[in-house]
Protein backbone atom coordinates (compact mmCIF):
# COMPACT_ATOMS: atom_id res chain seq x y z
CA UNK A 1 0.00 0.00 0.00
CA UNK A 2 1.39 3.37 -0.95
CA UNK A 3 0.32 6.83 -0.02
CA UNK A 4 -0.98 8.72 -3.06
CA UNK A 5 1.68 11.18 -4.15
CA UNK A 6 -0.73 14.13 -4.40
CA UNK A 7 -2.25 13.51 -0.97
CA UNK A 8 -0.46 16.20 0.97
CA UNK A 9 -0.49 19.15 1.35
CA UNK A 10 -3.95 20.39 0.45
CA UNK A 11 -5.44 23.86 0.65
CA UNK A 12 -6.92 24.90 4.00
CA UNK A 13 -10.12 26.25 2.39
CA UNK A 14 -10.85 22.80 1.00
CA UNK A 15 -14.08 21.75 2.78
CA UNK A 16 -13.68 17.93 2.85
CA UNK A 17 -10.93 15.83 4.44
CA UNK A 18 -7.60 15.64 2.66
CA UNK A 19 -6.71 12.72 0.40
CA UNK A 20 -4.29 11.54 3.05
CA UNK A 21 -7.05 11.44 5.65
CA UNK A 22 -9.38 9.63 3.21
CA UNK A 23 -6.70 7.05 2.55
CA UNK A 24 -6.19 6.57 6.31
CA UNK A 25 -9.91 6.04 6.86
CA UNK A 26 -10.11 3.53 4.01
CA UNK A 27 -7.15 1.68 5.43
CA UNK A 28 -8.69 1.56 8.92
CA UNK A 29 -12.02 0.34 7.54
CA UNK A 30 -10.20 -2.42 5.70
CA UNK A 31 -8.39 -3.48 8.88
CA UNK A 32 -11.66 -3.48 10.84
CA UNK A 33 -13.37 -5.71 8.25
CA UNK A 34 -10.41 -8.09 8.34
CA UNK A 35 -10.52 -8.23 12.18
CA UNK A 36 -14.25 -8.98 12.17
CA UNK A 37 -13.75 -11.76 9.63
CA UNK A 38 -10.94 -13.37 11.63
CA UNK A 39 -12.84 -13.28 14.92
CA UNK A 40 -15.96 -14.76 13.27
CA UNK A 41 -13.99 -17.57 11.65
CA UNK A 42 -12.03 -18.41 14.78
CA UNK A 43 -15.25 -18.54 16.84
CA UNK A 44 -16.87 -20.95 14.39
CA UNK A 45 -13.79 -23.18 14.32
CA UNK A 46 -13.45 -23.16 18.11
CA UNK A 47 -17.02 -24.22 18.77
CA UNK A 48 -16.99 -26.76 15.95
CA UNK A 49 -13.94 -28.43 17.52
CA UNK A 50 -15.48 -28.46 21.02
CA UNK A 51 -18.85 -29.74 19.76
CA UNK A 52 -17.24 -32.44 17.65
CA UNK A 53 -15.09 -33.60 20.57
CA UNK A 54 -18.15 -33.85 22.83
CA UNK A 55 -20.44 -35.50 20.28
CA UNK A 56 -17.81 -37.99 19.11
CA UNK A 57 -16.86 -38.97 22.68
CA UNK A 58 -17.59 -42.64 23.39
CA UNK A 59 -20.14 -41.91 26.13
CA UNK A 60 -21.99 -39.08 24.36
CA UNK A 61 -25.24 -40.96 23.62
CA UNK A 62 -25.61 -42.14 27.21
CA UNK A 63 -24.61 -38.76 28.73
CA UNK A 64 -27.02 -37.00 26.40
CA UNK A 65 -29.94 -39.15 27.48
CA UNK A 66 -29.03 -38.67 31.16
CA UNK A 67 -28.50 -34.88 31.07
CA UNK A 68 -30.39 -33.54 28.07
CA UNK A 69 -33.68 -35.46 27.96
CA UNK A 70 -36.27 -33.12 26.50
CA UNK A 71 -39.25 -35.02 27.89
CA UNK A 72 -37.86 -35.09 31.44
CA UNK A 73 -37.06 -31.39 31.19
CA UNK A 74 -40.60 -30.55 30.15
CA UNK A 75 -42.12 -32.58 32.99
CA UNK A 76 -39.83 -31.12 35.65
CA UNK A 77 -40.00 -27.51 34.46
CA UNK A 78 -43.15 -26.31 36.31
CA UNK A 79 -42.07 -27.52 39.75
CA UNK A 80 -38.52 -26.17 39.26
CA UNK A 81 -39.91 -22.81 38.16
CA UNK A 82 -42.16 -22.61 41.21
CA UNK A 83 -39.14 -23.52 43.34
CA UNK A 84 -37.19 -20.73 41.69
CA UNK A 85 -39.89 -18.29 42.78
CA UNK A 86 -39.06 -19.26 46.38
CA UNK A 87 -35.35 -18.69 45.62
CA UNK A 88 -36.10 -15.24 44.23
CA UNK A 89 -38.14 -14.25 47.30
CA UNK A 90 -35.38 -15.48 49.62
CA UNK A 91 -32.86 -13.63 47.46
CA UNK A 92 -34.65 -10.30 47.72
CA UNK A 93 -35.24 -10.48 51.46
CA UNK A 94 -31.69 -11.69 52.14
CA UNK A 95 -30.11 -9.03 49.90
CA UNK A 96 -31.86 -6.25 51.80
CA UNK A 97 -30.91 -7.69 55.19
CA UNK A 98 -27.32 -8.31 54.06
CA UNK A 99 -26.86 -4.69 53.00
CA UNK A 100 -28.31 -3.40 56.27
CA UNK A 101 -26.30 -5.76 58.52
CA UNK A 102 -23.14 -5.27 56.44
CA UNK A 103 -23.43 -1.50 56.61
CA UNK A 104 -24.05 -1.63 60.36
CA UNK A 105 -21.08 -3.93 61.01
CA UNK A 106 -18.80 -1.82 58.80
CA UNK A 107 -19.84 1.36 60.61
CA UNK A 108 -19.27 -0.28 64.00
CA UNK A 109 -15.78 -1.33 62.95
CA UNK A 110 -14.81 2.25 62.17
CA UNK A 111 -15.94 3.62 65.54
CA UNK A 112 -13.14 5.15 67.54
CA UNK A 113 -12.74 5.68 71.26
CA UNK A 114 -12.21 3.23 74.11
CA UNK A 115 -15.89 2.91 75.00
CA UNK A 116 -16.54 1.23 71.66
CA UNK A 117 -13.80 -1.37 72.08
CA UNK A 118 -16.14 -4.31 72.77
CA UNK A 119 -18.39 -3.36 69.86
CA UNK A 120 -15.40 -3.01 67.55
CA UNK A 121 -13.93 -6.31 68.73
CA UNK A 122 -17.26 -8.06 68.26
CA UNK A 123 -17.67 -6.68 64.75
CA UNK A 124 -14.12 -7.72 63.84
CA UNK A 125 -14.64 -11.19 65.31
CA UNK A 126 -17.90 -11.53 63.40
CA UNK A 127 -16.33 -10.76 60.01
CA UNK A 128 -13.40 -13.07 60.79
CA UNK A 129 -15.55 -16.05 61.75
CA UNK A 130 -18.28 -15.76 59.16
CA UNK A 131 -15.97 -15.10 56.25
CA UNK A 132 -13.93 -18.11 57.30
CA UNK A 133 -16.65 -20.72 57.84
CA UNK A 134 -17.83 -22.68 54.77
CA UNK A 135 -21.42 -21.77 53.99
CA UNK A 136 -22.54 -25.40 53.86
CA UNK A 137 -21.30 -26.02 57.42
CA UNK A 138 -22.96 -22.84 58.67
CA UNK A 139 -26.19 -24.01 56.99
CA UNK A 140 -26.04 -27.25 59.00
CA UNK A 141 -25.26 -25.43 62.26
CA UNK A 142 -28.03 -22.87 61.83
CA UNK A 143 -30.49 -25.16 60.08
CA UNK A 144 -30.25 -28.18 62.37
CA UNK A 145 -28.48 -26.89 65.49
CA UNK A 146 -30.63 -23.84 66.18
CA UNK A 147 -34.01 -25.62 66.13
CA UNK A 148 -32.36 -28.48 68.05
CA UNK A 149 -32.10 -26.19 71.05
CA UNK A 150 -35.91 -26.21 71.25
CA UNK A 151 -35.98 -22.62 72.43
CA UNK A 152 -39.21 -20.66 72.42
CA UNK A 153 -39.59 -18.45 69.36
CA UNK A 154 -36.74 -19.96 67.34
CA UNK A 155 -38.04 -20.47 63.81
CA UNK A 156 -38.03 -24.00 62.43
CA UNK A 157 -38.77 -23.21 58.79
CA UNK A 158 -35.84 -24.32 56.59
CA UNK A 159 -36.44 -21.26 54.42
CA UNK A 160 -36.01 -18.85 57.33
CA UNK A 161 -33.05 -20.72 58.80
CA UNK A 162 -31.35 -21.07 55.44
CA UNK A 163 -31.91 -17.37 54.81
CA UNK A 164 -30.41 -16.59 58.20
CA UNK A 165 -27.26 -18.58 57.39
CA UNK A 166 -26.94 -16.75 54.04
CA UNK A 167 -27.35 -13.37 55.72
CA UNK A 168 -24.74 -14.22 58.36
CA UNK A 169 -22.16 -15.25 55.76
CA UNK A 170 -22.79 -12.62 53.14
CA UNK A 171 -23.16 -9.73 55.58
CA UNK A 172 -19.61 -10.48 56.76
CA UNK A 173 -18.30 -10.12 53.20
CA UNK A 174 -20.39 -7.09 52.44
CA UNK A 175 -19.28 -5.43 55.69
CA UNK A 176 -15.68 -5.70 54.52
CA UNK A 177 -16.58 -4.24 51.13
CA UNK A 178 -18.29 -1.32 52.83
CA UNK A 179 -15.34 -0.84 55.17
CA UNK A 180 -12.96 -0.69 52.22
CA UNK A 181 -15.27 1.91 50.68
CA UNK A 182 -15.36 3.96 53.87
CA UNK A 183 -11.58 3.92 54.09
CA UNK A 184 -11.24 4.91 50.44
CA UNK A 185 -12.91 8.27 51.06
CA UNK A 186 -10.05 10.74 51.37
CA UNK A 187 -9.35 12.00 54.92
CA UNK A 188 -9.63 15.58 53.65
CA UNK A 189 -13.38 15.01 53.29
CA UNK A 190 -13.61 14.17 56.98
CA UNK A 191 -11.41 17.14 57.85
CA UNK A 192 -13.71 19.44 55.89
CA UNK A 193 -16.84 18.03 57.51
CA UNK A 194 -15.44 18.15 61.03
CA UNK A 195 -14.17 21.69 60.40
CA UNK A 196 -17.74 22.70 59.71
CA UNK A 197 -18.66 21.47 63.18
CA UNK A 198 -20.31 18.22 62.10
CA UNK A 199 -20.06 15.44 64.68
CA UNK A 200 -18.43 12.10 63.91
CA UNK A 201 -21.81 10.51 63.26
CA UNK A 202 -23.03 13.33 61.03
CA UNK A 203 -19.78 13.21 59.09
CA UNK A 204 -20.16 9.48 58.55
CA UNK A 205 -23.81 9.63 57.54
CA UNK A 206 -23.79 12.72 55.34
CA UNK A 207 -20.30 12.85 53.88
CA UNK A 208 -18.39 9.55 54.10
CA UNK A 209 -21.04 6.85 53.62
CA UNK A 210 -22.76 8.39 50.58
CA UNK A 211 -19.41 8.52 48.78
CA UNK A 212 -18.36 5.07 50.03
CA UNK A 213 -21.60 3.40 48.90
CA UNK A 214 -21.25 4.85 45.41
CA UNK A 215 -17.74 3.49 45.11
CA UNK A 216 -18.55 -0.02 46.31
CA UNK A 217 -21.66 -0.55 44.20
CA UNK A 218 -19.82 -2.57 41.50
CA UNK A 219 -18.22 -5.05 43.97
CA UNK A 220 -21.52 -5.29 45.85
CA UNK A 221 -23.33 -6.25 42.66
CA UNK A 222 -20.72 -8.96 42.18
CA UNK A 223 -21.54 -10.31 45.65
CA UNK A 224 -25.21 -10.15 44.67
CA UNK A 225 -24.51 -12.37 41.65
CA UNK A 226 -22.81 -14.88 43.96
CA UNK A 227 -25.76 -14.76 46.34
CA UNK A 228 -28.18 -15.45 43.48
CA UNK A 229 -26.83 -18.94 43.05
CA UNK A 230 -26.06 -19.58 46.71
CA UNK A 231 -29.74 -19.18 47.60
CA UNK A 232 -30.02 -22.62 45.98
CA UNK A 233 -28.12 -24.03 48.96
CA UNK A 234 -31.15 -23.67 51.26
CA UNK A 235 -32.26 -26.89 49.57
CA UNK A 236 -29.88 -28.83 51.83
CA UNK A 237 -32.13 -27.90 54.75
CA UNK A 238 -35.14 -29.28 52.91
CA UNK A 239 -36.67 -26.06 51.58
CA UNK A 240 -38.62 -26.80 48.40
CA UNK A 241 -36.72 -24.44 46.12
CA UNK A 242 -35.57 -24.89 42.52
CA UNK A 243 -32.65 -27.16 43.41
CA UNK A 244 -34.68 -29.33 45.80
CA UNK A 245 -37.53 -29.69 43.29
CA UNK A 246 -34.98 -30.57 40.62
CA UNK A 247 -33.57 -33.22 42.94
CA UNK A 248 -37.03 -34.71 43.49
CA UNK A 249 -37.75 -34.79 39.76
CA UNK A 250 -34.30 -36.22 39.09
CA UNK A 251 -34.77 -39.03 41.62
CA UNK A 252 -38.18 -39.86 40.14
CA UNK A 253 -36.93 -40.02 36.53
CA UNK A 254 -33.46 -41.49 37.19
CA UNK A 255 -32.17 -38.61 35.10
CA UNK A 256 -30.01 -35.52 35.71
CA UNK A 257 -31.83 -33.28 33.23
CA UNK A 258 -33.85 -31.44 35.96
CA UNK A 259 -30.55 -30.18 37.41
CA UNK A 260 -29.62 -28.84 33.99
CA UNK A 261 -32.97 -27.04 33.84
CA UNK A 262 -32.46 -25.53 37.31
CA UNK A 263 -28.90 -24.54 36.39
CA UNK A 264 -30.05 -22.86 33.20
CA UNK A 265 -32.72 -20.92 35.10
CA UNK A 266 -30.13 -19.70 37.63
CA UNK A 267 -27.91 -18.53 34.78
CA UNK A 268 -30.82 -16.68 33.16
CA UNK A 269 -31.57 -15.10 36.53
CA UNK A 270 -27.98 -13.95 36.92
CA UNK A 271 -27.43 -12.46 33.46
CA UNK A 272 -29.37 -9.19 33.99
CA UNK A 273 -27.49 -8.56 37.25
CA UNK A 274 -24.16 -9.33 35.60
CA UNK A 275 -24.91 -6.91 32.77
CA UNK A 276 -26.02 -4.31 35.33
CA UNK A 277 -22.80 -4.80 37.28
CA UNK A 278 -20.75 -4.34 34.10
CA UNK A 279 -22.66 -1.20 33.23
CA UNK A 280 -22.31 0.31 36.72
CA UNK A 281 -18.59 -0.48 36.75
CA UNK A 282 -18.09 1.09 33.35
CA UNK A 283 -20.00 4.17 34.42
CA UNK A 284 -17.90 4.46 37.59
CA UNK A 285 -14.69 4.17 35.55
CA UNK A 286 -15.88 6.83 33.10
CA UNK A 287 -16.85 9.14 35.92
CA UNK A 288 -13.48 8.68 37.56
CA UNK A 289 -11.73 9.46 34.30
CA UNK A 290 -13.85 12.54 33.84
CA UNK A 291 -12.83 13.70 37.29
CA UNK A 292 -9.21 12.79 36.66
CA UNK A 293 -8.34 16.26 35.41
CA UNK A 294 -9.34 17.82 38.71
Amino acid sequence: MTVPAEAFPHLPDDAGPSDLQRWREDYRRGRARRAAGISGASTVVFFAVVATAVVLSPGWQRTKSLFLDWGVARDAFPSILSGLWLNIRVLVVCAVLIVLVGLAVASLRTLRGPIWFPVRALATGYTDVFRGIPLIILLYIVGFGLPGLRLQGVPTSPVVLGGLALVLTYAAYVAEVFRAGIESVHPSQRAAARSLGLTYGQTMRRVVLPQAVRRVTPPLLNDFVALQKDVGLISVLGAFDAVRNAQIASDAAFNYTPYMVAGLLFVLLAIPTIRLADWVTLRAVRRQQAAGAL
Binding site: S195, G197, A291
Partner: protein, 255 residues
Protein backbone atom coordinates in the same frame (compact mmCIF):
# COMPACT_ATOMS: atom_id res chain seq x y z
CA UNK B 1 0.76 44.22 68.21
CA UNK B 2 -2.88 44.86 67.46
CA UNK B 3 -4.87 48.00 67.00
CA UNK B 4 -7.12 47.01 69.90
CA UNK B 5 -6.91 48.43 73.37
CA UNK B 6 -4.37 46.41 75.38
CA UNK B 7 -7.04 44.95 77.69
CA UNK B 8 -9.25 43.70 74.82
CA UNK B 9 -9.45 39.90 74.62
CA UNK B 10 -7.94 38.81 71.30
CA UNK B 11 -9.99 36.54 69.04
CA UNK B 12 -7.13 34.09 68.86
CA UNK B 13 -4.17 33.67 71.16
CA UNK B 14 -1.56 30.92 70.76
CA UNK B 15 0.86 30.62 73.65
CA UNK B 16 3.89 28.35 73.36
CA UNK B 17 2.14 25.91 71.01
CA UNK B 18 4.11 22.71 70.39
CA UNK B 19 3.25 20.07 67.79
CA UNK B 20 5.21 16.92 67.09
CA UNK B 21 4.62 14.22 64.52
CA UNK B 22 6.49 11.22 65.90
CA UNK B 23 10.01 12.42 66.62
CA UNK B 24 9.69 15.34 64.25
CA UNK B 25 8.85 18.62 65.98
CA UNK B 26 6.92 20.84 63.60
CA UNK B 27 5.99 23.62 66.01
CA UNK B 28 8.58 24.24 68.71
CA UNK B 29 6.90 27.10 70.51
CA UNK B 30 4.53 29.34 68.61
CA UNK B 31 3.14 32.55 70.07
CA UNK B 32 0.57 34.35 67.98
CA UNK B 33 -2.16 36.82 68.85
CA UNK B 34 -4.89 37.88 66.44
CA UNK B 35 -7.21 40.74 67.34
CA UNK B 36 -10.72 41.36 66.12
CA UNK B 37 -11.01 42.35 62.41
CA UNK B 38 -7.36 41.58 61.90
CA UNK B 39 -6.02 39.80 58.81
CA UNK B 40 -2.82 37.95 59.60
CA UNK B 41 -0.84 36.11 56.94
CA UNK B 42 1.49 33.28 57.83
CA UNK B 43 4.47 32.97 55.53
CA UNK B 44 7.33 30.53 55.61
CA UNK B 45 8.92 27.74 53.63
CA UNK B 46 7.11 24.48 52.94
CA UNK B 47 7.22 22.40 56.11
CA UNK B 48 7.65 25.44 58.34
CA UNK B 49 4.45 24.49 60.16
CA UNK B 50 1.92 26.94 58.69
CA UNK B 51 -0.64 24.25 57.94
CA UNK B 52 0.07 22.39 61.18
CA UNK B 53 -0.60 25.55 63.16
CA UNK B 54 -3.91 26.10 61.39
CA UNK B 55 -4.90 22.46 61.96
CA UNK B 56 -4.05 22.83 65.66
CA UNK B 57 -6.15 26.00 65.93
CA UNK B 58 -9.08 24.16 64.38
CA UNK B 59 -8.51 21.16 66.68
CA UNK B 60 -7.96 18.82 63.72
CA UNK B 61 -4.68 18.10 65.51
CA UNK B 62 -4.12 18.05 69.25
CA UNK B 63 -1.28 20.23 70.50
CA UNK B 64 1.59 18.61 72.36
CA UNK B 65 2.07 21.60 74.62
CA UNK B 66 0.99 25.20 75.02
CA UNK B 67 -2.42 26.83 74.99
CA UNK B 68 -4.69 28.12 72.24
CA UNK B 69 -7.45 30.55 73.25
CA UNK B 70 -10.46 31.51 71.18
CA UNK B 71 -12.07 34.65 72.58
CA UNK B 72 -10.20 33.99 75.79
CA UNK B 73 -11.49 30.42 76.15
CA UNK B 74 -8.86 27.69 76.33
CA UNK B 75 -9.84 25.43 73.42
CA UNK B 76 -6.89 23.09 74.00
CA UNK B 77 -8.51 21.99 77.27
CA UNK B 78 -9.29 18.29 76.64
CA UNK B 79 -12.69 18.74 78.27
CA UNK B 80 -13.79 21.25 75.66
CA UNK B 81 -16.43 20.24 73.05
CA UNK B 82 -14.31 20.20 69.90
CA UNK B 83 -17.35 20.20 67.58
CA UNK B 84 -18.67 23.35 69.25
CA UNK B 85 -15.28 25.05 68.87
CA UNK B 86 -14.98 24.11 65.20
CA UNK B 87 -18.40 25.62 64.54
CA UNK B 88 -16.93 28.99 65.55
CA UNK B 89 -13.99 28.63 63.16
CA UNK B 90 -14.32 28.55 59.39
CA UNK B 91 -11.66 26.72 57.40
CA UNK B 92 -10.84 26.82 53.71
CA UNK B 93 -8.42 24.18 52.48
CA UNK B 94 -5.83 24.20 49.76
CA UNK B 95 -7.67 21.49 47.79
CA UNK B 96 -11.14 23.02 48.45
CA UNK B 97 -12.42 19.72 49.96
CA UNK B 98 -15.93 20.30 48.68
CA UNK B 99 -18.25 17.32 49.03
CA UNK B 100 -18.38 15.89 45.49
CA UNK B 101 -21.70 14.09 46.00
CA UNK B 102 -23.60 17.26 46.92
CA UNK B 103 -24.63 20.29 44.91
CA UNK B 104 -23.02 23.63 45.65
CA UNK B 105 -26.11 24.64 47.59
CA UNK B 106 -26.06 21.48 49.71
CA UNK B 107 -22.35 21.92 50.37
CA UNK B 108 -23.03 25.38 51.73
CA UNK B 109 -26.18 24.59 53.70
CA UNK B 110 -25.08 21.25 55.19
CA UNK B 111 -23.50 22.66 58.34
CA UNK B 112 -26.07 25.38 59.07
CA UNK B 113 -28.86 22.81 58.74
CA UNK B 114 -27.19 19.97 60.63
CA UNK B 115 -25.18 21.88 63.18
CA UNK B 116 -26.86 25.25 63.42
CA UNK B 117 -30.38 23.85 63.34
CA UNK B 118 -31.43 26.30 60.63
CA UNK B 119 -34.47 25.27 58.57
CA UNK B 120 -33.72 24.35 54.96
CA UNK B 121 -35.51 27.28 53.23
CA UNK B 122 -33.84 29.78 55.52
CA UNK B 123 -30.41 28.15 55.10
CA UNK B 124 -30.84 28.08 51.32
CA UNK B 125 -31.88 31.73 51.15
CA UNK B 126 -28.78 32.71 53.05
CA UNK B 127 -26.59 30.41 50.97
CA UNK B 128 -27.95 31.85 47.73
CA UNK B 129 -27.31 35.38 49.01
CA UNK B 130 -23.72 34.45 49.89
CA UNK B 131 -23.20 32.72 46.53
CA UNK B 132 -24.56 35.78 44.75
CA UNK B 133 -22.04 37.91 46.62
CA UNK B 134 -19.19 35.85 45.19
CA UNK B 135 -20.75 35.78 41.73
CA UNK B 136 -21.84 32.14 41.79
CA UNK B 137 -25.61 32.51 42.14
CA UNK B 138 -26.30 30.53 38.97
CA UNK B 139 -24.03 27.65 40.07
CA UNK B 140 -26.11 26.78 43.15
CA UNK B 141 -27.51 23.55 41.70
CA UNK B 142 -24.30 22.41 40.00
CA UNK B 143 -22.01 19.73 41.37
CA UNK B 144 -18.48 20.80 42.37
CA UNK B 145 -16.77 18.91 39.53
CA UNK B 146 -18.59 21.10 37.01
CA UNK B 147 -16.86 24.20 38.41
CA UNK B 148 -13.43 25.65 37.75
CA UNK B 149 -10.86 25.57 40.54
CA UNK B 150 -11.39 29.22 41.31
CA UNK B 151 -15.15 28.77 41.46
CA UNK B 152 -14.76 25.73 43.71
CA UNK B 153 -12.54 27.65 46.06
CA UNK B 154 -15.03 30.51 46.22
CA UNK B 155 -17.73 27.99 47.10
CA UNK B 156 -15.44 26.63 49.81
CA UNK B 157 -15.09 30.15 51.23
CA UNK B 158 -18.86 30.59 51.15
CA UNK B 159 -19.31 27.23 52.86
CA UNK B 160 -16.98 28.35 55.66
CA UNK B 161 -18.82 31.66 55.96
CA UNK B 162 -22.26 30.06 56.15
CA UNK B 163 -21.59 29.10 59.76
CA UNK B 164 -21.01 32.77 60.71
CA UNK B 165 -17.55 31.95 62.03
CA UNK B 166 -15.73 34.07 64.57
CA UNK B 167 -12.43 33.34 62.83
CA UNK B 168 -11.59 32.27 59.31
CA UNK B 169 -8.56 30.07 58.63
CA UNK B 170 -7.30 29.98 55.04
CA UNK B 171 -4.74 27.29 54.31
CA UNK B 172 -2.86 28.04 51.07
CA UNK B 173 -6.18 28.64 49.36
CA UNK B 174 -4.60 29.66 46.06
CA UNK B 175 -1.84 27.06 45.83
CA UNK B 176 -3.89 24.55 43.85
CA UNK B 177 -5.19 27.15 41.41
CA UNK B 178 -4.05 28.06 37.93
CA UNK B 179 -2.34 31.46 37.97
CA UNK B 180 -5.21 33.18 36.14
CA UNK B 181 -7.70 31.91 38.74
CA UNK B 182 -5.73 33.10 41.78
CA UNK B 183 -6.98 36.67 41.42
CA UNK B 184 -10.68 35.89 41.83
CA UNK B 185 -10.09 34.11 45.14
CA UNK B 186 -7.74 36.78 46.49
CA UNK B 187 -10.23 39.49 45.57
CA UNK B 188 -12.82 37.67 47.63
CA UNK B 189 -10.48 37.41 50.61
CA UNK B 190 -9.70 41.14 50.34
CA UNK B 191 -13.42 41.91 50.42
CA UNK B 192 -13.84 39.79 53.55
CA UNK B 193 -10.96 41.62 55.18
CA UNK B 194 -12.54 44.95 54.33
CA UNK B 195 -15.79 43.77 55.87
CA UNK B 196 -14.00 43.15 59.15
CA UNK B 197 -13.65 39.36 59.09
CA UNK B 198 -10.92 38.07 61.38
CA UNK B 199 -8.61 35.99 59.19
CA UNK B 200 -5.50 33.90 59.59
CA UNK B 201 -4.13 32.93 56.22
CA UNK B 202 -1.19 30.76 55.29
CA UNK B 203 0.01 31.88 51.87
CA UNK B 204 2.79 32.05 49.33
CA UNK B 205 1.29 35.11 47.66
CA UNK B 206 3.56 37.86 48.91
CA UNK B 207 1.88 40.56 46.88
CA UNK B 208 -1.41 39.65 48.52
CA UNK B 209 0.19 39.66 51.95
CA UNK B 210 1.52 43.13 51.17
CA UNK B 211 -1.88 44.49 50.08
CA UNK B 212 -4.44 42.87 52.32
CA UNK B 213 -2.70 41.77 55.51
CA UNK B 214 -2.60 43.87 58.65
CA UNK B 215 0.30 41.80 59.82
CA UNK B 216 2.72 39.30 58.36
CA UNK B 217 4.05 36.46 60.50
CA UNK B 218 7.14 34.58 59.36
CA UNK B 219 7.29 31.02 60.66
CA UNK B 220 10.66 29.33 60.59
CA UNK B 221 12.01 26.29 62.41
CA UNK B 222 8.79 25.88 64.37
CA UNK B 223 8.73 29.38 65.89
CA UNK B 224 7.50 32.83 64.89
CA UNK B 225 10.80 34.31 63.85
CA UNK B 226 9.53 37.69 62.82
CA UNK B 227 6.22 39.53 62.65
CA UNK B 228 5.03 42.99 61.91
CA UNK B 229 3.28 45.18 59.35
CA UNK B 230 3.74 43.84 55.81
CA UNK B 231 5.72 46.84 54.63
CA UNK B 232 8.26 46.20 57.38
CA UNK B 233 8.53 42.38 57.32
CA UNK B 234 8.44 42.06 53.52
CA UNK B 235 10.51 45.09 52.64
CA UNK B 236 12.91 45.41 55.51
CA UNK B 237 13.11 42.16 57.48
CA UNK B 238 15.21 42.04 60.63
CA UNK B 239 16.35 38.42 60.40
CA UNK B 240 18.71 36.94 57.88
CA UNK B 241 16.46 33.86 57.56
CA UNK B 242 13.51 36.05 56.58
CA UNK B 243 15.61 37.87 53.96
CA UNK B 244 16.79 34.53 52.61
CA UNK B 245 13.23 33.19 52.37
CA UNK B 246 11.91 36.33 50.69
CA UNK B 247 14.70 36.42 48.15
CA UNK B 248 14.03 32.79 47.25
CA UNK B 249 10.34 33.56 46.80
CA UNK B 250 11.23 36.56 44.63
CA UNK B 251 13.51 34.42 42.51
CA UNK B 252 10.72 31.90 41.94
CA UNK B 253 8.56 34.71 40.61
CA UNK B 254 5.80 34.49 43.20
CA UNK B 255 5.79 37.97 44.65
Amino acid sequence: MTDEAPDAVPVLACEGVVKRFGKHTVLRSVDLTVGEHECVTLIGASGSGKSSLLRCINLLETVDDGVIRLDGEDITDPRVDADAVRRRIGVVFQAYNLFPHMTVLDNVTLAPRLVGGVARPEAEDKARALLARVGLAEKATEYPDRLSGGQQQRVAVVRALANDPRLLLLDEVTSALDPELVGEVLTLVSELTDQGMTIVMATHEMSFARQAADRVVFLDGGVVLEEGPPEQVLADPVHARTRQFLSRVLESGRH
